[in-house]
């Protein structure tokens, strides 16, 4: 099998169109109905708003598949160009973005550490696959903005907590253990020094209602039919947590997997986990 990464630079506000009109049909045609295509989807803003599609393709079919992707992408982008991304100069970093409505293969050097090779745990392969399908299923219906991605990540995070605990008491213990996994991280030091206790309380009170709503959706199992993706996510996390010795460490690694796919930072995960912890303490 051979790995292929294609970064599609496309206005974030129209990622839902990219998902429904290009990525899902492309995956269907590559899979040919076998339901065994290995792919991952990573949402990304590095060097411009882009969706990174990583595929593991059979050696024999690799060139044909690449040719297919090439022709479909060219067609899609020429017929469905996303709106220009407005940039404010000077930019926030050293480099200009890749042009919008373009695509590039393997633009980031990874050395021998190809994406799929980094997952030595089979359960984590399933986690990444599940996250990718979930992104396609949930972020395909409406405009995607940073807020929708944040809410989505909260669902996923609280889903992890649900997967690793049977009741609120266990949930509190799990979250406390997950928080301690941050102890040695630079991000913890930064957040602790920059986000004072009262700021955190303020942040919590502003998000209290959304947290309560998400908790309600996640905690009542099985999840409602329109949240089938969430039920699937919790089940997949549950298997992974149960098969590993340290539930807290595994749950923490699941958080990092979410970060990989949604480009959320470890600092953001820490802050949201602290909010989850505060919500749990009030239950």
């Amino acid at each position: 099998m051979k790995e292929l990464t294609v970064s599609i630079f496309y206005n974030q506000e129209e990622w839902h169109i990219l998902n429904t009109a290009f990525i899902i049909p492309l995956l269907d045609s590559l899979d040919k109905g076998n339901d065994n295509l290995q792919f991952n989807i990573l949402l990304n803003s590095l060097n411009g708003s882009n969706v990174k599609l990583i595929l593991l393709l059979p050696d024999d079919d690799f060139e044909d598949c690449k040719h297919l992707i090439d022709s479909k992408l060219r067609f899609f982008l020429s017929h469905n160009p996303s709106a220009p991304v407005s940039l404010s100069f000077p930019l926030k970093g050293f480099f200009m973005d890749f042009p919008n409505n373009t695509y590039w293969y393997n633009i980031y050097y990874q050395g021998s550490a190809l994406w799929f090779n980094t997952m030595n745990d089979n359960n984590f392969k399933k986690i990444h696959a599940c996250l990718s399908r979930t992104i396609l299923n949930t972020l395909s219906n409406e405009r995607i903005d940073n807020e929708s991605i944040f809410t989505f990540s909260l669902y996923l995070q609280i889903g992890i907590v649900r997967a690793g605990s049977n009741n609120l008491k266990e949930a509190k213990k799990l979250v406390s253990g997950m928080l301690s996994c941050f102890d040695q991280k630079e991000e913890k030091r930064m957040i602790d020094s920059e986000l004072a206790e009262d700021q955190l309380k303020n942040l919590y009170s502003r998000n209290e209602s959304i947290l309560a709503e998400i908790f309600k959706d996640v905690w009542n199992r099985p999840c409602s039919a329109d949240l089938a993706w969430l039920e699937n996510w919790i089940n997949t996390c549950s298997v992974t947590i149960k098969e590993n010795i340290s539930g807290c460490k595994t749950s923490y690694n699941l958080l990092k997997a979410i970060n990989d796919h949604l480009e959320t930072s470890l600092s953001t995960s820490l802050v949201t986990l602290k909010l989850v912890n505060m919500a749990l303490q009030k239950m």
Partner: protein, 365 residues
């Protein structure tokens, strides 16, 4: 059997870091008082924040009973990491010299730990380089004074921030000294601080007039640094890990693995600039150009590209860091590729200092 207690010097340079030193120095002295054969050496690198008064007032007892030696130099205007440490290490009287940054805590009995490490029959040095997520303690190095003098100390051609500590350990290893990694968490505590604090006393930071970027491709941009002394330097920053048609991976062997960014051809082009308010005139070898300012777009037009003045402090700091580190990194890589063990062939750590507030008897190093 207890190992022989070698004479150890814990050395701290301070320039405008009194706030940190107030928290760390006394704690460090207390945490190591059982060792005995230990001196703390504090070099006041012309600190402008009242360090001398503090030392006279708050550290006099430690100085009196010889646990602390205070040196002051009035020469430097800016912080120079290589020179300051060379001067300090030369002043230290220990067989083993250990650098303790002003924001670092040694932890309890670190001196005994250092002594144990140097009981190794091989020649060793202590370092924290190689630890991840510990950038605030990466200045910690323990080295025998003999080895330090033999390799010529820190390379004083590295006048900027960064890589001088990597360079010295490269040269120590080239000379056959074995690295001993300090991993114990209790010896690696520090006071967190910002990048701006890290470089605010450096010459580059204080001399910078403006920083501009000319965007070329998604993997390359020209960085322009205009200094207050009317010199400028420019170079093309290259993203080594981006490929595609925009820019190939760096051709240098392995550079894309080691470093995310480089300067194209390791080449900074220097020249002079003049202020034609609002335009800028540039002079370099065989080159003269006027950059026209476009007030509406807030950029200068240079050739067919635009140069954007950067106002955002974080990006300016990143620019300074990048320039600073690449400048030193190129020297380090050169030392490494030439297997250059000994540097500063014309001497190092030279200065005139005053010991324990005695201004009648200058000490020339």
């Amino acid at each position: 059997m207890q190992p022989e207690k070698k004479r150890i010097s814990f050395c701290t340079v301070c320039m405008n870091r009194l706030a940190h030193l107030k928290q760390t120095l006394k704690a460090n002295i207390k945490d190591n008082e059982t060792y005995g054969n230990l001196e703390f050496v504090l070099l006041d690198y012309n600190s402008g924040d009242g360090l001398e008064d503090y030392a006279k007032d708050q550290l006099k007892n430690y100085i009196k009973d010889n646990r602390l030696v205070y040196y002051k130099t009035c020469t430097p205007k800016y912080f120079n990491r290589s020179h300051s440490r060379n001067l300090l290490f030369k002043l230290a009287t220990g067989d083993i010299i250990c650098n303790i940054d002003a924001d670092n805590y040694t932890g309890k009995n670190f001196a005994a730990y250092v002594n144990n490490a140097f009981c190794d029959p091989d020649r060793v040095f202590l370092s924290t380089l190689g630890l991840t997520g510990k950038k605030d303690v990466l200045g910690r190095i323990g080295i025998s004074k003999t080895d330090f003098l033999n390799i010529g100390g820190f390379d004083e051609t590295m006048v900027n921030y960064g890589f001088e500590d990597y360079d010295i350990i490269n040269r120590l290893q080239l000379s056959g000294v074995k690295k001993y990694l300090i991993e114990e968490e209790s010896y690696l505590k520090y006071i967190p601080h910002t990048n701006a604090e890290r470089i605010c006393s450096e010459q580059l930071y204080n001399n910078l007039h403006s920083f501009m970027i000319k965007y070329l491709t998604p993997a390359s941009s020209e960085l322009w640094l205009l200094f207050k002394n009317n010199q400028f330097t420019r170079g093309t920053i290259v993203h080594n890990r981006l490929a595609g048609d925009f820019f190939p991976y760096s051709k240098k062997n392995g550079e894309h693995i080691k470093y995310t960014y480089s300067i194209l051809e390791d080449n900074w082009i220097d020249g002079h600039w003049g202020d034609l308010n609002p335009d800028i005139e540039l002079f370099a070898d065989g080159y003269n150009e006027i950059l026209r300012y476009d007030a509406e777009g807030n950029y200068f037009r240079g050739g067919d590209k635009r140069l954007y003045p950067i106002k955002e402090s974080t990006l300016i700091e990143e620019g300074i860091f990048f320039y600073s580190q690449v400048f030193n990194r190129i020297i380090m890589e050169d030392n490494l590729s030439r297997k250059n063990i000994c540097v500063n062939l014309n001497g190092f750590g030279k200065d005139t200092v005053y010991k324990n507030f005695d201004y009648n008897n200058p000490v020339t190093v």
